[in-house]
Structure formats: C-alpha cells, structure tokens
C-alpha cells in the first residue's frame, strides 16, 4: 500500500508534489495516478458505451445509424449511448485574499495553491472524459473566466490562467454563482472551490438557485489545518486579511470555543447543502487531491 502511495501522486500530500514541476505537470500526474487507481475505466459510461436503440427521426446524424439493424429489420435505428452529450462543468475557484493563506510555511500549501491544483486536476479529469469545462476565478468580482471547452488545448489554457491568477481581495461567491445562474442556463456541474469565508446566506441562496435550475453543485470547502484547530498559546491579535477585522485573544483561552465555532459553521454548511442535495465536502490542504477527485467523479457519475 505504501509503495502504491508512492507511485500515485494523487494520494500524496499535495505539498509534496512540488518536485514534479509546474501546475500542469502536477495536474497531469495527479489525474494520471487517480485514473490508474480506478479498477475500471472512467470512460465506461460515456460516449463509447452503448445504451439502447431508438427509431430514426429526420435530422438525426447518420453516423449513429445502426446499419446492422437496418440489414436485419430494414428499419433505421439509431445507436444510442449512455451519454449523448458532453457534461458542462463550471469550476468556480475562490481567489480571494483569505484563500492565499496557510498556517505554516513548511509542508503546507496555501488554500489558493491547493484550490488551483484541485481545479487543474478536476478540469483535466473532466476533459479527458469528454466533458466541457469552464473556469471562473472570483474574488470581489469575477477576476477571470474561461468558457466551456472540451479540448486539451483548452485545459492548457485553464492551467495557464490558474498559474497566472493573483489573489484578489474580498470573496463574493454568492454574486459569482448568481451570475453563473444567469449565464449558464444549461444544467451542468458547478464546482465551487472556496474556503467559504463568504457571505454565507447569499452563497447558500445562490447554490439553491443553481440546484433549482437543474445544476449539480459540488462544494469543496477548503480548510487549512490551522483553521480547524487554533494553534499556539500566547496572546495575539488576529487580523482578517480581507476585512482587517481584528480580534485580540489568547489562543489557549479560545481554543475550545473556536473549535466549537468551526464545527458549528461546518455543520451549518453541511446541513444547508444536504437539505438541497448539494454535494458538500470539506477538504483540508494537507489531504491528497484524490479525495476531491473521487468526490467529483462520484457527483459526475450521478449526473450521467
């Protein structure tokens, strides 16, 4: 098992993947490792998989006519596969300033770096499965947007965009998702990668709207281990990098209450998403990317 972990970058600590090179190489390695780990092909349910026949209707593409059936029955039937069309996946990455933070400098990625690697890996995985993927980077506004495409070249463009994306300031996830609701009427998968230090009510409303519109939202709640557990014991003034809000406290005094507050917040997200059948996953930045990829694949399969 250990040796398998060593062979599969998707199961490694994301911080350990730096040696592989840039974001593109890391994403490729991760996806490759992830795909290799699957016992059956991930493309099993996609366009190559025959599902049923249906009667030819004028206008149908003649490439899908089953000529064998025509020979036997003298009627035109079309071969219908499980996936007739490519899935549209919108990857929404939070690039606000709170994402550009890590609790320790050694052996840990910032939430933004982790999100970028996750986004790159997800888009590669989806495109390799024939889906279309778009990328929306947002902070206080939509910082960059790449349209839906399903080509490797497009993925390479996504990777370049991610690599070049600088952190913004505030996070407006709710507004971004609302815009997406209006701009993407076609149901698809909406992957929100964020630390969710956002306007929670508006974001939840936007997720609900997406869900209501037939989208399949998938929320990756990125957490730094240092946010889950308050470290240190001395007095400190904690400053919110986005709002400048300050709290002077002694870590040791607030540790228990902080842990409870985080738990309450995560539980609130979990319940809010669960009630709307929205997939919600917490991912710590020291966890392997494979976990997120797996969750994504799971959601993807449900859509298929």
């Amino acid at each position: 098992m250990k040796s398998e972990r060593h062979k599969r970058p998707d199961l490694l600590d994301p911080a350990e993947l730096d040696d592989l090179g840039g974001l593109e190489l890391i994403a490729r390695a991760v996806v490759q490792g992830f795909v290799a780990g699957l016992h059956s092909s991930p493309s099993r349910g996609f366009s190559a998989e025959f599902a049923e026949h249906r009667a030819y209707r004028p206008g149908d593409d003649l490439r899908f006519v089953d000529w064998r059936m025509y020979g036997r029955s003298d009627r035109f039937f079309l071969k219908q596969y499980e996936e007739e069309t490519n899935l549209a996946a919108h990857i929404c990455l939070d690039v606000s300033r709170s994402m550009d933070w890590r609790s320790r400098a050694d052996g840990l990625l910032t939430k933004l770096e982790y999100g970028k690697r996750l986004a790159a890996s997800l888009t590669l995985l989806l495109i390799r499965q024939g889906d279309l993927a778009s990328l929306i980077c947002f902070a206080e506004r939509v910082m960059s947007r790449l349209p839906l495409r399903g080509t490797i070249a497009h993925w390479a463009q996504i990777v370049r965009q991610l690599a070049a994306q600088a952190p913004g300031h505030l996070s407006t996830a709710g507004q971004t998702l609302e815009e997406l609701t209006r701009a993407a009427p076609r149901p698809g998968m909406v992957v929100l990668i964020s630390d969710l230090l956002v306007d929670e009510a508006r974001t939840r409303r936007a997720l609900n709207q997406l869900r209501h519109q037939g989208h399949e939202p998938l929320v990756f709640h990125i957490l730094d281990p240092g946010e889950l557990e308050l470290s240190g014991s001395g007095d400190a003034v904690f400053v919110d990098p986005e709002t400048g809000d300050e709290v002077a406290a002694r870590s040791a005094d607030l540790r228990a209450e902080y842990r409870a507050a985080v738990a309450r917040s995560l539980d609130a997200w979990r319940r809010a998403c669960g009630s709307r059948s929205i997939d919600y996953h917490t991912i710590a930045t020291d966890q392997p990317l494979a976990l997120a990829l797996g969750e994504c694949l799971h959601t993807r399969s449900r859509l298929a």
Binding site: S98, W101, S233, A236, V239, D240, L254, A261
Partner: protein, 650 residues
C-alpha cells in the same frame, strides 16, 4: 486603628503599577497574526469574553493585592491599640522644675517626688528606639542636663531641690530646640512644674523670645498638680551691719522677714540664729519688718550657720544660710598728708576697733595720699590704697610711680562739666547720692583683668582694685578725698566707706561675697581640691575653676590641709512667691497654635496620655493567611487559563 512601623516603605505600593503596566504592555505588544477565520474567532471570543474578562480582572486583582500585601507587610502594620511601649520611636524631652517651690507637699509627698515618679513612668514606657533628654528649669542656660534614658534615670535618683531661680520658658525653649533636631521621631515634651507664676514669667531669662520652630506638631503634656496656694512667709538674707566681721567685736545682724500673698499674720515670728547646732541668738519680729540680732564676738575664721523663722507656708524658705568671714582689725598706715577729714574718720574707726593705725613698716594696708613708695609697699606684699592728689600737676609723678610699681592704670586729668555721681548699687549705702566735683579718668595702660569696685553713673571706673603677681592688692580712687573734690569727706558715708575700703576691699586674700543664689558661678581658690557639701559629703573640685552649687546650705572649700574658703547658697527670695500662674501665661509659653498641649494630673491619666503615638501589635498573622489565600487563588486562576494538555489525537 492601624499604624506602621516603617511607613516610608509604603512607597513600595507603587509597585502595583508593575502588573498593570505589564498587563497593558502585553496587550499592546501582542504579536499580530494574519488569520482568515477571524469570524470563527470572533464568535468564540464573544462567547468567551465575559468569562475571560472576569478571569483577567480576578487575576489582575489578585496580583495587585499580593503586591499591596507585600508592601503593607514591609511597612510593618500594627493593628489595634497596643500597650504603653507600643509607640512610634519618640524623642522625649523632660522639662523638670526642681526649684524651691517643688518642695511643697501634696498630701505627704513632695511635688519633686511626684515629678520624679512620673518621669520614671516615662522611662519605663520608653523603648530602645526612643531618645530621652532632661532639661532643668533652674539650668535654662544649659542644653540637656541628661541625655539618654540611663543618664536621665541616674539624674532622677539624685534629684534635689535647687536653690535657684526657675526659668520655665528658657528650659522649654532648650527642649524645643532639641526636639526640633529630632526630625525622624515623634516628639513629646513632658513638663513637670507647679505652674508658679514667677517661673512662668520670662523675667528670669530676659525678654520673652519666640519658641523655636519645631517643624511638625509637638505634643506637650504638663504635669502640674493642684496645690493649695496660701500666703508664704520667708526669711531674707541675714546681713551683718558691717563686713567683714572683726575678731572680738559684737556685730548687729539684720534679718528681714518677708510675706508673700494675702492675709499676712498679725503676730510676730520667732527668729533664731543657729551656729553649728546651737541657737546662739533669738529675737522676735513681724513679717514685713527686719529683726536685729546681736551676734556675739567671734573668733577669727569662718562663721557658718543659718537663721530661721517659724514655719509659714513653704518650709524651705524659712531658713537662710550664712557664711561670714571674721578677721582681725587691719593695720593701716597713712603715707603723706591725710587731711583732717580722713584723719578723723580713721580715728573713729580705730576707736570702734575696726582698724589699728600703725607705722608704715608694721602696716598691712598703706593709704597713700602722696605718690611715694608705692612700689615698695606692693613689693613687700602690702595693700596700697592710692588717693590721687588734689593738684593735677602731681599726676605725672603719680603715674610714674604706678608704672614703676607695674600697676596697669594711669590717671588723666580731664575737664569735666558739672558734677559726677557714683552708679546706684554701690556696696556702701549712700555713696550714690554724693556729688563728685573732681574726678580723674582712670585709663588702663595695658591688658588688665582688674575690677572696678565702684563706677560713675556713666560706667566710668571710680574705684579700681587689682592685685600684683605677688598677690598684693592695690586700690585706685578716681577722686581726692578732699571737701573740694567731693561731698564724701564731709558726709556720714565717709566712715563706712573707709571701713569697707581698708577693712574689706584692700585686704589681701579678700574673698568677696560669701552668700550666693543656687547655681551662681563661684570662683574657687587656686588651691582648692574639694568642696564639702551641706550634708557633709565632699566632692572633688578643680582649683581656680568656676563652681556651681545647686542645693541650699553651707559649703566649705578645702585644700589638702583644711578649709580655705566657705560660702552659703540660698534660693532667690522671689522663689518664695508661690502665686500660681494663669493658663494664659502658660499658653504664652507654649504656642498653642503650633503645639498641642494638655495638663494631666492623675497617675492613670498620665500613664494613658504619654507617648501618644501608640501603635497596635504587629499584624503579620492575618497578613500571612491573606497572602496564602491570595497566592492559592492566583495560582488556581492562572492554571485555569493555561491550555489543557490535549489528548492524543486518534
């Protein structure tokens, strides 16, 4: 009531600023940490804030209290009202009025004994940290008579009535000056007095002076028992009609009887003159009158004894001591032309047995009316009385003789307008009323310690007495003894003046006064080595030094072979005036605006009233308990705030 042993250490309470400063500094200097999840922290902080604030407050309070407690402990707190010896270090000045009036009785005890008893209570309640000094009202010109508790205790053991004038303001001034220098201690002055008016008046030590500035408040406690005041009869000084007494001559002695106060007794009092143990003369006289006693002829030497009247009021002043010298009649020779008046006066004295006129070679006193052989007389140890010539033209010759005889005086003839008079207080009664028309100036020709026995009203010397290195006496008169020069030769004063001149002033080894007030300075003869006290005891003395005797009585000055001088000590007559002073007179002495004072007469009141800065007992036990409780509380609070050891993560 709470007090402190070391109140200055209260400055340590300022250390409470340390935890406060640390608290504030730590808050200000806390590190700033970028932390995105501040919203969760805010929620936690809001939930935790109240408990946190309370804990911080309790911790800070506990630490402040611990510091305050340590500071208070360092100050040495004293709680409650302690015993007599639980007082602040105190400088205690005891002012003792041991004058004659302190011999009055209260019940069956003398006031002086009551003073000593109270003063001993002071010493019993004094601690090693106190400073005690004793000041005497009869020695107001001196600083502390006894300094230190041991010295004061020793002084009290030998405390005697002093036959001297009490100057209470002067003693209080001395005590206040000493207390003014004792700035590190609490200050108290205990005054023991009968509040006799004459001791309160400033006349004893000159005009009233402002009391010294003591600085901080001064507590004065006056022990002045109420003594019934009544009229007081006292004997005055017994004085022989002529002095010195001449061997074999009967002498009249006058003794005035004084009465102080109202209700002078109507009858007369018996007067006794006692020599040794025998009353040798007795008489009767009324108060306000003078008794005349006939002293029988005495042998050569010293006559000591006392005169005594019946007891009236204060007993101590009913007896007056005397010392007289009895000498043979002087052998006198006149050199030069004596003149009629001088010759008649000398003859009268010779007839009365007061002198013998002899040839110059056999004389012990030369009366020189001409400037001849002065140096020869002085060189042979004779006394020389120089009567200046009537004609000023003879003065240079006289001055030349004086120079040859090493007499440091010269005559100078100066024009004088009008007549001159001798100053009041001349030893011979009536001299001051006489007119002197011819007076030469007596000018010292060098350094001299000679005495001007008689002075003109302008303080100019008229009769100078000096002695040569060999001990011979010389007397220089400033006027000729002629009727043209003055009224003296033709007046009745001439004979007693001449008697004093040749019989007393000109005598070799003249003693001078033999009756003194207590503590008056008395010059002892050069050969003296002991002074015999009135009780017969002897005390070593230094010849030629000043001696001050306090106790009334007769003294003898001794050398190795026997008595060489004698004197008596009596209290000043004014001390017999027992009129009590008024409170206003006491307040004038004790500046009430600056000093607090009270009069305390009862024994219990005295014990309670003295050492006012009494303090409680050391309060270390409750402090230790409080310290432990606070320390435990602080430790518990601090421990509650420390992060708990996390259980190992699964």
């Amino acid at each position: 009531m709470i007090d402190f042993l070391h109140p200055l250490l209260g400055l340590a309470t300022l250390a409470v600023a340390i935890p406060i400063a640390l608290h504030l500094m730590r808050r200000r200097e806390a590190r700033r940490v970028s932390f995105p999840a501040v919203r969760y922290l805010r929620q936690a902080e809001q939930r935790h804030a109240q408990r946190l604030r309370l804990r911080y407050l309790l911790l800070l309070s506990a630490r402040l209290l611990i510091i305050l407690l340590l500071a208070v402990a360092a100050m040495g707190p004293l709680l409650g009202h302690g015993g007599p010896t639980d007082h602040r270090p105190t400088a205690l000045a005891i002012v003792m009025d041991e004058s004659q009036s302190a011999s009055r009785l209260l019940g069956d005890r003398r006031l002086l004994d009551l003073y000593a008893e109270r003063a001993r209570i002071d010493l019993e309640q004094a601690t090693a940290d106190d400073r005690v000094a004793l000041f005497s009202a009869v020695r107001s010109d001196e600083a502390a008579i006894a300094l230190g508790a041991a010295a004061v205790r020793e002084y009290l053991v030998s405390l005697r009535i002093a036959a001297a004038r009490a100057d209470l303001p002067g003693a209080i001034r001395q005590a206040a000056a000493w207390l003014g220098s004792e700035r590190e201690r609490a200050r108290e002055m205990h005054v023991f007095t009968d509040l006799q008016r004459v001791s309160l008046t400033a006349g004893a030590s000159g005009p009233t002076e402002e009391m010294p500035e003591v600085g901080r408040s001064l507590s004065v406690i006056v022990y002045a028992p109420d003594v019934a005041t009544q009229g007081n009869g006292a004997a005055g000084d017994a004085e022989p009609e002529v002095a010195p007494l001449i061997v074999g001559l009967q002498t009249k002695v006058s003794l005035p009887l004084h009465w102080f106060g109202l209700e002078m007794p109507a009858g007369s009092s018996l007067v006794r003159l006692v020599k040794g143990d025998d009353a040798i003369v007795m008489a009767e006289a009324a108060f306000g009158a003078t008794a005349l006693l006939s002293l029988p002829p005495q042998d050569s030497g010293w006559v000591q004894g006392y005169v005594e009247i019946d007891r009236h009021g204060l007993a101590a002043d009913d007896r007056r001591y005397f010392t007289w010298q009895v000498r043979p009649a002087p052998r006198v020779a006149v050199l030069g032309d004596a003149g009629g008046f001088l010759t008649h006066a000398l003859d009268a004295l010779e007839q009365g047995g007061r002198l013998q006129q002899v040839e110059p070679a056999a004389a012990e006193v030369w009366l020189a009316t001409a400037a001849t052989r002065l140096e020869a007389g002085l060189a042979t140890g004779r006394s020389v009385i120089v009567v200046p010539p009537a004609d000023p033209i003879d003065l240079p010759r006289l001055n030349s003789r004086l120079g040859r005889a090493r007499v440091p005086w010269r005559y100078r003839s100066e024009e004088r307008r009008g007549v001159a008079h001798l100053a009041e207080g001349a030893a011979v009664a009536g001299l001051a009323a006489l007119e002197f028309r011819q007076v030469y100036r007596l000018i010292p020709s060098g350094f001299t310690q000679d005495t001007a026995l008689l002075q003109l009203s302008g303080a100019e010397p008229w009769l100078v007495r000096g002695t040569t290195a060999a001990g011979a006496a010389y007397l220089l008169l400033a006027s000729p003894l002629t009727p043209e020069a003055s009224e003296l030769p033709v007046s009745a004063v001439m004979v007693p003046f001449l008697d004093a001149l040749v019989g007393d002033w000109a005598r070799r080894g003249r003693i001078g006064p033999t009756v003194f007030e207590g503590l008056a300075p008395i010059r002892l003869p050069a050969r003296a080595d002991q002074v015999q006290q009135p009780d017969g005891s002897r005390r070593p003395a230094e010849g030629g030094a000043w001696y001050r005797a306090a106790e009334a009585g007769n003294y003898a000055v001794l050398d190795g072979e026997g008595r060489i001088m004698a004197f008596s000590v009596n209290a000043p007559l004014i001390e017999s005036d027992l009129t009590p002073g008024q409170p206003s007179e006491l307040e004038r002495i004790l500046p009430a605006a600056r000093w607090s004072w009270q009069r305390e007469t009862s024994l219990a009141g005295w014990q309670q009233g003295i050492f006012r800065t009494r303090r409680g007992r050391p309060a270390w036990r409750p402090l230790v308990v409080l310290f432990l409780v606070l320390s435990i509380g602080e430790a518990a609070l601090a421990a509650a705030g420390r992060p708990r050891r996390e259980t190992k993560r699964q």
